[in-house]
C-alpha cells in the first residue's frame, strides 16, 4: 500500500522542479565510455553523447607523418587548416568562431592529422559545415604559405625540445621509414625543396577523401549528426594522389645526437599496437610509471624510485600505440649526469621485473593505475578522440573500454614477467640526445641493439 504522504511529497518535488525532463550536466546518469562507430553518407563517424553543454567535433585524417609522401607535408597541411577557402577568408573563419565561442585547433600525431572544433552544443550545424568546407575547399594560396605557414613552422621548429628529438630518433631507429619519420622536422631537416603550397595541396587531395577521414563527435546528438554530417558530401570518394602506406616493421638500433642544453635518453622496445592492445604492456607502463600521482612522495612506481637517486632527472614510461605497431618507451630527461644515473637505474628496475621481484601490492597498484589511465584518457578530450578516429581510418573499431579494463584485470605476475622478458631479449631502440661524453651506450646498459 502506498502511503498518502509519500505520494504528496513526490508530487511536491516534481512541482518544485519544473524542468525535470531537462536535467543538468551533473545529473546525467552514466556517460558511455566508448565511441560508437557508424557510417553517415559514406563518412566514417564515431560518436559519443554525454548530454553535456559542449561538443567536440574532429576530423581525423590519415595524414600523419607516417603517411606523408614527402617530408614536412603533414606540418604544412596542419598549418593550412582554417586558412582561406573558396567561400570565406581565414579572418572570417576566426572571427565567426570567436563570436560563437568556439575553439578551432589543428594538430597531428604520427598517424593522424586532426582538425578539431570545440563549441557549444547548439552550434553543431555551423562547425560541421566549417570542417567540411576546410577539408574540401581550402585554397592553399601562395601568399598564405609565404606569409603565415612557413613562418609558423620556423617558429615551432625553434621550440623543439631535446626530449622530442630523442623520441623521434628512437622512432627512426625502430621503424626507419613511415612511423620513423620525425613528428616535427627540425630546423636542420632539408624540407624546403619538398614543402610548398602545391605539394601541400596535392597531399590534401590525397588525404582528405572519404575512406581516409573519420569524423569523431563527442557530445553531439545522433539526430544532429545524421543531419549535419551530410555536409561532408562534397569530400571526394577517391583521389589520384598516393599516401605512403607501407606497413610498419620493427628494426631496433641506437642513435646518438650531440646537442647543447637539456639531455634526453630513450630506451624503447616493441610495444602494444591499437590492433593488439597487450594488457601486459599497459600494466608495465603503470608499474614503471614515472610521475608520482600523489604529493610529497615518489610514489610506488619503479621509475620514480630510480630517479629518486638521481635528482635533476625525470623519467617516464609510455606506450605509443599505432595502428599496426607500437613502441614502449622509457624516457629520461634532465642534466647529463642525472640522466646517466637514472637510465642505469631504470634498466635495472626493468630487469628486476624479469627476475620477478615485483611485490604483489605493486602489481595491484599498477593494474589500478593502468585502468585509471585508460578511463581518464578516454573520458577527457585528447587521446580518446584521436584514438577513436585513428582506429576508424585504420579499418578497426574504437577502443572497447569495458573489455580492455577486463583484460587489464586478468594480468598476473607471471604474464607480466614473461612480457618483460620478451622485451629485454628482443632488440631495443636506444636514442641519446645531449652530452654524448656522459650519456651511456646501449651496450653499457646491457641492452641488445
Amino acid at each position: 500500500m502506498i502511503s498518502r504522504s509519500a505520494l504528496t511529497r513526490g508530487s511536491q518535488l516534481a512541482l518544485r522542479r519544473p524542468n525535470a525532463a531537462q536535467r543538468g550536466f551533473a545529473a546525467v546518469a552514466s556517460p558511455k565510455a566508448s565511441y560508437e562507430p557508424t557510417d553517415i553518407a559514406g563518412v566514417k563517424v564515431a560518436s559519443r553523447d554525454d548530454n553535456g553543454p559542449v561538443t567536440r567535433l574532429a576530423v581525423v585524417a590519415k595524414a600523419g607523418t607516417r603517411y606523408e609522401p614527402l617530408p614536412g607535408l603533414t606540418v604544412g597541411l596542419e598549418e593550412f587548416a582554417f586558412k582561406n577557402t573558396q567561400k570565406r577568408s581565414a579572418l572570417r573563419i576566426t572571427r565567426e568562431a570567436e563570436l560563437l565561442g568556439g575553439q578551432l585547433t589543428s594538430y597531428h600525431t604520427r598517424e593522424a592529422l586532426v582538425l578539431q572544433a570545440n563549441f557549444l552544443r547548439e552550434d553543431l550545424p555551423y562547425f560541421a559545415e566549417l570542417l567540411a568546407e576546410v577539408i574540401s575547399q581550402t585554397r592553399y594560396t601562395t601568399f598564405e604559405f609565404n606569409e603565415e605557414v612557413e613562418q609558423l613552422i620556423h617558429l615551432k621548429q625553434k621550440r623543439i625540445s631535446a626530449a622530442s628529438i630523442a623520441l623521434d630518433a628512437a622512432h627512426s631507429v625502430a621503424f626507419h621509414t613511415g612511423l620513423g619519420a620525425p613528428l616535427y622536422p627540425t630546423a636542420d631537416t632539408p624540407v624546403a625543396s619538398y614543402l610548398n603550397e602545391h605539394s601541400v595541396a596535392a597531399f590534401a587531395e590525397a588525404a582528405y577523401t572519404k575512406p581516409n577521414i573519420a569524423v569523431v563527435a563527442d557530445g553531439a546528438s545522433q539526430a544532429g549528426l545524421a543531419k549535419w554530417i551530410e555536409l561532408f558530401k562534397d569530400v571526394p570518394t577517391s583521389s589520384q594522389g598516393q599516401l605512403n602506406t607501407a606497413s610498419a616493421k620493427y628494426y631496433g638500433g641506437e642513435q646518438r645526437v650531440a646537442k647543447t642544453g637539456t639531455n634526453s635518453y630513450v630506451v624503447a622496445f616493441p610495444g602494444a599496437s591499437l590492433k593488439d592492445p597487450k594488457p601486459e604492456t599497459a600494466v608495465l607502463v603503470g608499474l614503471l610509471g614515472g610521475a608520482s600521482s600523489i604529493k610529497w612522495s615518489p610514489g610506488f612506481t619503479l621509475l620514480s624510485k630510480a630517479t629518486a637517486a638521481a635528482p635533476g632527472a625525470v623519467a617516464q614510461a609510455t606506450n605509443y600505440a599505432y595502428s599496426d605497431a607500437g613502441l614502449f618507451t622509457i624516457q629520461v630527461t634532465g642534466s647529463a649526469g642525472a640522466v646517466r644515473k637514472a637510465t642505469e637505474e631504470a634498466v635495472k628496475s626493468l630487469k628486476s621485473v624479469v627476475e620477478g621481484s615485483v611485490a604483489k601490492e605493486d602489481l595491484v597498484k599498477a593494474i589500478a593505475k593502468a585502468k585509471f589511465d585508460l578511463l581518464s584518457g578516454s573520458e577527457t578530450s585528447g587521446t580518446g578522440l584521436v584514438h577513436a578516429g585513428a582506429n576508424l581510418i585504420a579499418g578497426g573499431s574504437p577502443l572497447k573500454v569495458a573489455e580492455t579494463v577486463k583484460a587489464l584485470e586478468s594480468v598476473t605476475a607471471d604474464s607480466l614477467k614473461a612480457a618483460a622478458k620478451a622485451l629485454l631479449e628482443g632488440k631495443a631502440s636506444v636514442a641519446a640526445v645531449g652530452d654524448l661524453h656522459v650519456l651511456p651506450f646501449a651496450e653499457d646498459l646491457g641492452l641488445k641493439v
Binding site: 577568408s89 579572418l91 572571427r95
Partner: protein, 124 residues
C-alpha cells in the same frame, strides 16, 4: 593605387563599352608607356603599403619581368629614345597582373574593418 575610374560602369553596358573602347585604345597608345615596353600595371605608384604588399605576393618570374621592364624603360628615358616598334608592348600583352592582387588586399582590409566594427544582434 589607381585613380577612381568608371571601368566597371562602362563594361556593364555593352553599347557604352563599344563607344568608349576606341578612345581608350587611343589614350593607352598616346600615353606612350607601351613604346617604352611597359605595361599599365607598371605605372601604379609603389609608395603605398597596399601596393608594396601586393608586390611581395607576385611570383618570382612576374616580379623579375617587372623589374626588367622598368630598368629598360628608365634606360630608354635617360637616352631619350623609344623601343623599335616590334618591341612595343602589344595591346593583348598589356594585361593587369598587379591590379587583381591589389583588389584582393583591399577586399581583405575592408572585411577586417567590417568585422572590427561588427554589431552583434542576438537572436535569442
Amino acid at each position: 593605387m589607381s585613380a577612381p575610374h568608371f571601368a566597371g560602369f562602362i563594361r556593364a553596358r555593352p553599347w557604352l563599352h563599344r563607344l568608349v573602347q576606341p578612345v581608350a585604345n587611343w589614350y593607352a597608345n598616346a600615353a606612350a608607356y607601351r613604346q617604352l615596353g611597359l605595361r599599365a600595371d607598371d605605372l601604379i605608384s609603389e609608395e603605398d603599403e597596399t601596393v608594396l604588399k601586393a608586390l611581395k605576393r607576385l611570383d618570382e618570374k612576374t616580379s623579375y619581368d617587372r623589374v626588367y621592364r622598368m630598368r629598360r624603360a628608365t634606360q630608354l628615358s635617360l637616352q631619350q629614345k623609344i623601343l623599335p616598334k616590334a618591341e612595343w608592348t602589344k595591346p593583348e600583352e598589356d594585361t593587369p597582373y598587379l591590379e587583381p592582387l591589389i583588389a584582393e588586399i583591399i577586399a581583405e582590409q575592408k572585411e577586417r574593418a567590417a568585422l572590427d566594427n561588427l554589431e552583434i544582434i542576438k537572436s535569442h
